[in-house]
Symmetry: D2
Subunit: 103 residues, 4 copies
């Protein structure tokens, strides 16, 4: 199980507002809701699942602005892949929060 953190920036949008593109990307991501766990944050989208599937989904999401007429897309992806133990978004957060709660 890997976790990816993705931002997709459409280039050449006329205005600085890109929330419609982000919303359209999320509508495509929602189709995968039974295969992966995901979360929208104010700066990116986090997706947890099997790495091959995640990369397939990343490519599908990266295509969305092109389908909406954009000619250039800059996508930034961070992959965090840990294999010595179960690696989940909830587990990572809990682990840090537990350490923050300690004296």
């Amino acid at each position: 199980m890997a976790i990816v953190d993705i931002t997709i920036i459409p280039v050449g949008t006329e205005t600085p507002s890109v929330s419609q593109y982000v919303a359209d990307i999320h509508k495509v991501l929602e189709k995968h809701k039974d295969e992966v766990t995901y979360e929208l944050t104010p700066m990116n989208t986090l997706i947890e699942g099997e790495l091959s599937l995640l990369l397939k989904i990343v490519q599908e999401l990266h295509e969305v602005p092109f389908e909406n007429g954009i000619q250039r897309v800059c996508t930034n992806l961070r992959i965090d892949d840990r294999r010595d133990k179960k690696h989940t978004m909830a587990g990572k957060l809990k682990s840090v929060q537990a350490k923050l709660a300690e004296k």
Copy 2:
């Protein structure tokens, strides 16, 4: 007002676990809680505030693993800076969610 999305990776940690480093970084970030708004996600830390101050804080956070004996740190930073309107984490999320709620 800008928003930054930061991950700080200590290199040469002996084990794959880095949650203690993340917790130590957050303890330093907490000292700035009256100056900036921040949020810990499973993959990064988001901080909202005035850009010069954010970069000062990023450098301070980047120093934390060195203070704990690490000799190499790889920090990845995304800056999202928009100046034609009030730009906040809460506002960005709301804008996308409003568009997702539309038919």
Copy 3:
């Protein structure tokens, strides 16, 4: 044709030196030298080619540290994908350099 810019950080390496991992990754990349154009810079590896193929190669490269016993790998990928004109590494560099040469 897209261009990707990739850094692969093995986590839990005991020492801060990771050049052996980078070299091993490049040996795998060299197997693809007839399919893609690539370049090693001091901070990352740039690869130009068809996007599906690039993502397949990225995943293959991301696996290399695991094959060498590492249990956690953090990979950072920037995709620059432009479709209104031929988009190559050489062309991008030339375009900026031409503008820098202007008065």
Copy 4:
């Protein structure tokens, strides 16, 4: 000595071409040529120097598209900071190339 790898994406540019923005950013960077070492690659700009100075320069470069009328800029920064030995762009590249040259 740290090394940063930066990409600066102007958002809301009307066209997908951003090479003029990259050239303008480099003209500003050239003013610092006695303080830092830098290199333009097809995907980013690499700068080597003292970290506080690098972050000051990063902020200065990030401002350039705003001075040219852009209202939103997304900057992506990777910092590689190693303190157990002299850490330079030339040294990093040489170290990997030496390992690639080995049998």
